[in-house]
């Protein structure tokens, strides 16, 4: 069976993931809307997942793909908890702008 990486190259997947990851990082830094920030984190996780799959193909090994399941579980759990926190903040403050969270400082 032909390895698909012969046509694309693992480097390209790495670059893709890295850039995607960096976009995620950028999003976390750039946006102040908590939901968008969450989404950015999801982008980061997805970038890594993509790389996992690429490496899984690279090694012709199933473990990488199995790990993606775990990463999905983690992502789901994080989103659940994160949104729960967000909701409770929203109930208290009425806003989800993370810049407003500056009471703790110094």
């Amino acid at each position: 069976m032909n390895n698909i990486l012969n046509q694309i190259g693992i480097e390209n997947y790495i670059f893709l993931s890295v850039i995607l990851f960096c976009i995620g990082v950028f999003g976390v830094l750039y946006r102040r809307n908590a939901i968008i920030v969450f989404m950015s984190i999801e982008i980061m996780l997805n970038a890594v997942s993509l790389l996992f799959v690429a490496f899984s193909t690279y090694h012709q090994d199933a473990e990488g793909q199995v790990f993606v399941f775990f990463s999905m579980a983690v992502a789901a759990a994080e989103v659940a908890v994160g949104l729960a926190i967000l909701v409770s903040i929203f109930r208290n403050v009425g806003s989800i702008t993370i810049d407003n969270l500056k009471n703790l400082k110094g």
């Binding site: 990082v25 976390v28 830094l29 102040r32 993370i98 810049d99 969270l101 500056k102 009471n103 703790l104 400082k105 110094g106």
Partner: protein
């Protein structure tokens, strides 16, 4: 036997001290006085016994009690050395001491703390004995500092007056300057000879062949500084006149007869050292001569009766140092003894006068006491004649010997000494004339109370006057018992020729004439012209300089005391605070950084993540790009 006796000698006064200090108050004044006197008398008796023993055997008595201080290459015993010199000193210390104790019983009777006074006096005698009989420099040093302590206590006996306390403090500190010198001398000697014992030192120094002259001179000089402090020589003499703040018996005992002669004792003790260091000897001679002259000039114009005597003492001590410096230890010793007699007599006499006048010390307010106090007058007159060098009185012999020695070695020194002697005669008779002659110048009330002192006061005066008269007999020119007695201590005496030639007689004549001139001048001025010293404010010209003691105190104050105090203030206010704020400063800076740092922790997630990312970038680029 000897050990026990020597302990008795030493501890009897100490016992007196203990009894008086602890139980004196309950014993009552008279008993305290008697105990004080008796204990010293016991010491005197023991001294007499030892004197008899040593004249018979001529062997010094060495007593070792216990190890005291251990130094790496030698150890210092606590021991006594009773030889001719120390016994001689013991005799007049305890002898005059007993007389003065006796005198004090009456003199101090009105003072509420008489028992304390006697305790201190006893303590002084105890320390003085320690000083004299110590077998090594350190034991001597115990006594040396101990008498300084007693001097401090007694000068400041009337402690409610802060001026007296100042005087006491000054005396102690001046002495301590000398003591440091003495200590340094002790160190050098210990370093050089690995012993501080007099007898071994003597063997070590005289026996050694390759002596390091530099260090030897240094040691001798350092010891001399010590002597300067204790015996009130230039530049450390200013404490002695101030020390007259103490009760008069104290001035007589400590600041005239005994303690101040400790320096001479020590130098005589260490004669084997000084003989080897001619440079130091000349310094001693010069210092002595200058001291004699300077003090005499100051004495010329003083109006306080005790101050006159004090400067006289300084001047006489200067003469003794002159003799020491010229290597004539026996002459110095001789003068010490005669001086002890007549100066003690003078002080006690002045004490009697002061007593009679209810504490008045200014001669301008005296006069005409001759009739009221004949015994006092008589004894003081004898003593004055003795100190002025009138022939046949003891002072004549001793002073003359000094001048003789000076003439033989150095004419300028002789000249200075002679001038000082003339001045002595002048100011002594100035004192006599102002005090006893003419009319009484004090208040009517004082006049009403004028009386001769009680017999307890006059008795010592008479004894001392007799001694002042006949004291010269112990060392008649040409046939000196003293010289013979001291030969074991001063080996040179055995070889020194003692002949009286024409020169000597001429010199004697000059001295006598000089003394008479001094007396005559005084007579002319204070009896003939009937002049009375001017009030303080009216003194002008050079006599003002003299009256103010050449402004030496002010000078010392300006160049030493004030600068040190200013320095102290500077250290306290500037250096201390800045050192302290330096340390605090470190803390403050850290705190300030912390305070600024708090601003960085702004609470903004964006910033935190930014730091995170930057940190990440830095680490990764350092590890993977910089390599």
């Amino acid at each position: 036997m000897n050990t026990n006796l020597s302990l008795l000698l030493l501890l009897a006064p100490f016992l007196g001290f203990l009894i008086n200090i602890f139980f004196g108050k309950s014993l009552g004044k008279t008993v305290a006085g008697i105990i004080g006197t008796l204990t010293v008398a016991v010491s005197f008796a023991v001294s007499l016994y030892f004197f008899g023993q040593i004249t018979a055997s001529k062997e010094p008595i060495q007593i070792q009690l216990f190890d005291w201080i251990q130094i790496s290459n030698f150890k210092v015993d606590f021991g006594f050395l009773l030889d001719q010199l120390s016994i001689l000193w013991l005799l007049f210390v305890t002898g005059i001491g007993s007389l003065i104790h006796l005198y004090s019983i009456s003199y101090m009777h009105d003072d509420e703390k008489m028992h304390t006074f006697f305790a201190y006096l006893n303590l002084f005698v105890f320390f003085m004995i320690t000083l004299v009989i110590g077998s090594n420099l350190l034991v001597m040093f115990i006594g040396w500092e101990g008498v300084g302590l007693c001097s401090y206590l007694l000068i400041g006996f009337w402690y409610k007056n802060q001026e007296f306390n100042d005087a006491a403090k000054k005396a102690f500190i001046m002495n301590r300057i000398g003591d440091l010198g003495l200590l340094i001398g002790i160190f050098i000697l210990g370093m050089l000879f690995n012993t501080l014992d007099f007898s071994t030192l003597k063997i070590g120094i005289s026996g050694a062949t390759d002596l390091n002259m530099y260090w030897l001179s240094a040691a001798a000089f350092a010891l001399f500084i010590g002597a300067c402090g204790k015996s009130a020589q230039i530049p450390l003499y200013t404490w002695l006149p101030d020390a007259m703040a103490g009760p008069t018996p104290v001035s007589a005992l400590i600041h005239a007869a005994t303690m101040v002669t400790a320096g001479i004792f020590m130098i005589t003790r260490m004669n084997f050292l000084f003989d080897l260091t001619p440079d130091v000897q000349s310094i001693i001679a010069v210092v002595g001569a200058i001291t004699a002259l300077v003090a005499a000039t100051i004495g010329l114009v003083q109006n306080d009766i005790k101050k006159v005597l004090a400067y006289s003492t300084v001047s006489q001590l200067g003469l003794m140092f002159l003799a020491l410096g010229l290597g004539a230890y026996e002459v110095a010793v001789f003068h010490v003894i005669t001086h002890a007699f007549f100066k003690a007599c003078l002080f006690l006499g002045s004490g009697s006068v002061i007593h009679a006048l209810g504490g008045e010390q200014d001669m301008r307010n005296m006069g005409g006491l001759k009739k009221a106090m004949p015994i006092t007058f008589g004894t003081m007159l004898i003593a004055s004649l003795a100190i002025s060098g009138v022939p046949l009185f003891s002072g004549f012999f001793s002073k003359d010997e000094i001048l003789l020695v000076a003439f033989h070695s150095n004419i300028p020194l002789w000249l200075i000494g002679s001038i000082a002697s003339i001045m002595t005669a002048f100011y002594m008779f100035r004192l006599m004339f102002l005090t006893f002659f003419k009319e009484f110048r004090g208040t009517a009330e004082q006049k009403h109370h004028l009386h001769e002192s009680p017999s307890l006061i006059t008795l010592p005066l008479i004894v001392l006057a007799i001694l002042a008269t006949v004291g010269g007999l112990i060392s008649l020119p040409g046939n000196s018992w003293l010289n013979e007695y001291l030969t074991p201590i001063l080996p040179k005496l055995a070889t020194a020729a003692h002949h009286l030639g024409t020169t000597e007689y001429i010199l004697m004549a000059i001295a006598v004439v000089g003394g008479l001139i001094g007396i005559g001048l005084a007579y002319a001025k204070y009896i003939k012209q009937d002049s009375i010293p001017a009030e303080d404010a009216a003194i002008t010209g050079f006599s003002k300089v003299l009256y103010n003691k050449y402004y030496v105190d002010e000078f010392y104050d300006a160049i030493i005391v004030k600068p040190i105090n200013v320095l102290s203030g500077f250290f306290r206010d500037t250096i201390e605070t800045s050192l302290s704020s330096l340390v605090f400063g470190l803390g403050k800076v850290t705190n300030e950084i912390s305070f600024q740092g708090k601003k960085l922790q702004s609470g903004s997630i964006g910033l935190y993540l930014f730091a995170f990312v930057i940190g990440l970038c830095a680490i990764i680029s350092y590890l993977f790009l910089a390599q």
